[in-house]
């Protein structure tokens, strides 16, 4: 069936992009579920019910993937047939250094929670995250998927850190 073969960007009729307008995405999901949710085919034939279940599941899956920045970037790489080889090592020395520093920081904060230090690092992580997203966007524009893939590891790392720091701050 045509609908199920569409990639998620085509499904929601939005251009392939690192940024997605969440409100627009939510609205489109609502319109599509309003038409294709299995409840709309409660009296339908078995064939209609089966199609509705497949389309509705596809829409929910698309919502999940496009609604999350990490999943969305992975998906862009996937539809561009980029081979995401998890076993490849990252040879960015500065990034490795950053990771070591962060794990030391997390350890010391674990022993002694200092809200001011947390705030400083939170601000830093947020700004690094923003820069990384900008880098990924410009790599995408020049079709440099390898660079996107490298930066995706950083993106995951900063998002994880931000969540951890916020959790520590609220505890």
């Amino acid at each position: 069936m045509d609908i199920l073969k569409k990639n998620f960007f085509e499904l929601f009729n939005i251009g392939i992009s690192v940024d997605v307008n969440k409100l627009e995405l939510d609205e489109k999901v609502k319109i599509l579920q309003g038409q294709f949710h299995p409840d709309k085919y409660a009296n339908g034939s078995d064939f209609e019910k089966r199609l509705a279940l497949q389309i509705s599941s596809h829409v929910n899956d698309g919502h999940k993937v496009l609604g999350d920045i990490i999943l969305r970037i992975e998906y862009i790489l996937k539809i561009n047939n980029f081979n995401m080889d998890e076993s490849k090592t990252i040879n960015d020395i500065d990034f490795l250094q950053e990771q070591i520093e962060y794990s030391e920081l997390a350890e010391s904060l674990g022993e002694n929670l200092d809200k001011e230090i947390i705030d400083v690092h939170l601000l830093k992580a947020k700004s690094l995250l923003k820069t990384t997203i900008e880098n990924i966007k410009s790599s995408f524009e020049s079709n440099d998927y390898e660079a996107m893939w490298q930066d995706l590891s950083k993106l995951r790392f900063y998002i994880k850190n931000i969540n951890e720091l916020i959790k520590m701050r609220n505890s």
């Binding site: 949710h37 409840d39 709309k40 409660a42």
Partner: protein
């Protein structure tokens, strides 16, 4: 066929309207209701609350509902109550729960609990199906129509097995389940809360024997169950017993009465006191009185237990009191006005109790049934989420989550498995549901054996396993070996409960007792169904048949349609059903084209109505 529901048979033709109901299949009482411009509740001997009780007499006869309560005699029969508590549980689960129920349970195959009476075995599904059948008959007799479908409510915390068990009980009772609906969601629907854009709600459900609380949040039309908590042995009965104790302390003459009689008086006092300062009743010349301040003292310890549970549920939801927009009261025990007052004070929000708390769940289910059947024109779409995470067992008895709880459903997820030994031909996948890390702390939904795996080196085969969750939250699994494309390789071993073949056999058994009027009813049903299909298809063909179909395709569909019309003249339900199938089969590609076309127009910002 719905054919995108462009044309709605019910709109123009009253005989084609479906007869659908909402069923609140409760632990203590059940209700069956329909909603067609107004709510109709079908009663049993003038009682709208139908006891969820089945009495099995020594001669093998059954009574259900009111008559089961009246006709239960310990010497001549066994009275089965609160069967819902053991729905979908294994024998081991029940023993761990330490239910003080006096159900004569024995352990059967596959750890399946069975009730054994006079050497006959009954499962929880059997007993529930008797209750559902009784409800169905009450509604059908009253309307003199056969039932087309039902929405059945289940507790929000019901897992896949419990939901499947409820659906199977309905199947056995000959009921077509349109949808399983979470009880708190049904209550919210009865109050029309789905028309709000966002908000968080507490559903406080205090029934005869059980207490349940759910924290729901509504986000852009999707109800998510953030947390549930409860006590399966806390209800109005406990209040009655507390009053009994107080009465015995204060009125010594009562000691000569039977406990069951004193409980009756306690209940009478409780129910009469609802909006009064005090109440007095006369018992064989002795007067007893209960003042509201004494009543409050009696019930405070019980109410405090419920408020503690509400607090736990709220903590688990990660919300705070100020986030709560409304509290909905469900269950007969919430008639005690102190509950509303205390909750209002505690949460400073609007506590809703305008709808009869005994009927609010059935009310919501009836509305949903009428929406699903197309009888109700309101464009309500209830989007549900998966109540408990779904995972697979990995090495070391750990659960690896495949689909997280609160993921909007339906959803399909794929996971790829491989072998760990050279030439391995089978793989066992244990599917579990629950939030905990250890498999032993979760529920096993069943073991799936992937067989006929082509002989390859370890790690060679790639087996894609698809986990499909439908709109009721029920799982189905399929698997394909991608290097060979072999997809018929799955074998399901339900850990307990009933397999699909058990259910078909049971349905066949119950159908053997069919009579002539059953046959006649089936003919009528198939004629109505045939008319519906003709109506929907003709409307569709009129609107876009010439655009989407070649003349040849159009004629093929018209020919089958003509054959179906002809078949309606004969009293042969099998022929009619066959012709309906032919029409549906020949128009499958047409349905598909219409769906594809509608998605284009929807997404381009135009509604389906604009292009037709």
């Amino acid at each position: 066929m719905s054919l995108l529901q462009i044309s709605d048979p019910a709109k123009s033709n009253d005989d084609l309207k479906k007869f659908v109901v909402g069923i609140d299949l409760g632990t203590t009482n059940s209700l069956i209701a329909s909603y067609d411009s107004q709510l109709i509740i079908y009663d049993d001997n003038d009682s709208e609350l139908i006891p969820s009780v089945v009495t099995i007499h020594n001669n093998g006869d059954l009574s259900v509902g009111e008559t089961a309560v009246i006709n239960s005699d310990n010497n001549k029969s066994t009275c089965l109550t609160s069967i819902k508590r053991i729905m979908g549980l294994s024998y081991t689960d029940i023993q761990n729960l330490n239910l003080k129920d006096d159900l004569p349970l024995i352990k059967s195959d596959n750890d399946l609990p069975c009730i054994s009476i006079n050497n006959k075995k009954y499962s929880a599904i059997d007993i529930s199906s008797k209750i559902l059948l009784h409800l169905r008959e009450l509604a059908e007799t009253k309307e003199n129509k056969s039932l087309d479908g039902a929405v059945i409510t289940v507790p929000a915390y019901f897992n896949d097995i419990q939901r499947q068990a409820t659906k199977n009980a309905a199947k056995l009772a000959g009921i077509n389940v349109l949808r399983l609906l979470n009880e708190p969601t049904a209550a919210a629907l009865a109050y029309g809360l789905e028309s709000n854009e966002t908000g968080s709600f507490i559903i406080y459900d205090f029934g005869g024997g059980t207490f349940d609380v759910s924290v729901l949040t509504l986000e852009k039309g999707i109800f998510k169950v953030l947390s549930t908590d409860g006590n399966t042995h806390l209800g109005g009965d406990d209040i009655d017993y507390a009053i009994v104790d107080w009465l015995l302390d204060n009125y010594a003459f009562l000691k000569k009465y039977k406990p069951i009689e004193i409980k009756k008086y306690a209940r009478l006092l409780k129910e009469s006191l609802v909006d009064k300062k005090s109440i007095s009743i006369d018992i064989d010349g002795n007067s007893i009185s209960l003042f509201d301040n004494d009543f409050l003292k009696i019930i405070t310890p019980i109410l405090d237990k419920t408020f503690d549970i509400v607090k736990n549920a709220l903590d688990a939801s990660n919300l705070s009191k100020k986030d709560i927009k409304n509290i909905i009261l469900v269950g007969g025990s919430t008639r005690i006005h102190y509950i509303k007052n205390i909750l209002e004070k505690k949460f400073s929000c609007n506590v809703l109790n305008d709808i009869d708390p005994d009927k609010v769940v059935a009310h919501g289910a009836a509305i949903q049934a009428s929406v699903l059947s197309g009888n109700n024109k309101e464009n309500i779409l209830l989007l549900d989420v998966l109540p408990l995470s779904l995972g697979v067992e990995t090495y070391g008895g750990l659960s690896e989550k495949v689909i997280l709880r609160n993921t909007p459903i339906p959803i399909k997820l794929r996971k790829t498995f491989t072998t760990f030994k050279d030439g391995q031909s089978k793989l066992l996948i244990n599917i579990i549901q629950g939030e905990r890390e250890l498999v032993s702390d979760c529920n096993s939904l069943g073991e799936f054996i992937l067989k006929d795996i082509p002989s390859m080196v370890a790690g060679g085969p790639r087996i894609d396993v698809d986990f499909q969750i439908d709109a009721d939250g029920i799982l189905s699994v399929s698997a394909t070996e991608t290097t060979t494309g072999n997809s018929s390789m799955i074998e399901v071993k339900p850990s307990y409960g009933l397999s699909e073949s058990d259910i078909s056999r049971m349905i066949e058994d119950s159908n053997n007792s069919a009579e002539t009027d059953m046959r006649l009813r089936r003919v009528n049903e198939s004629i109505v169904e045939g008319k519906r299909v003709i109506y929907a298809l003709e409307q569709a063909l009129d609107s876009d048949g010439r655009d989407l179909l070649s003349p040849d395709e159009y004629n093929r569909i018209s020919d089958e349609l003509g054959a179906l019309k002809l078949s309606l003249n004969d009293d042969d339900s099998e022929l009619i059903e066959e012709k309906i199938n032919c029409v549906e089969k020949v128009s499958e590609f047409y349905v598909e084209r219409r769906m594809n076309r509608s998605i284009k127009s929807l997404i381009a910002g135009k509604g389906i109505d604009d292009i037709l």
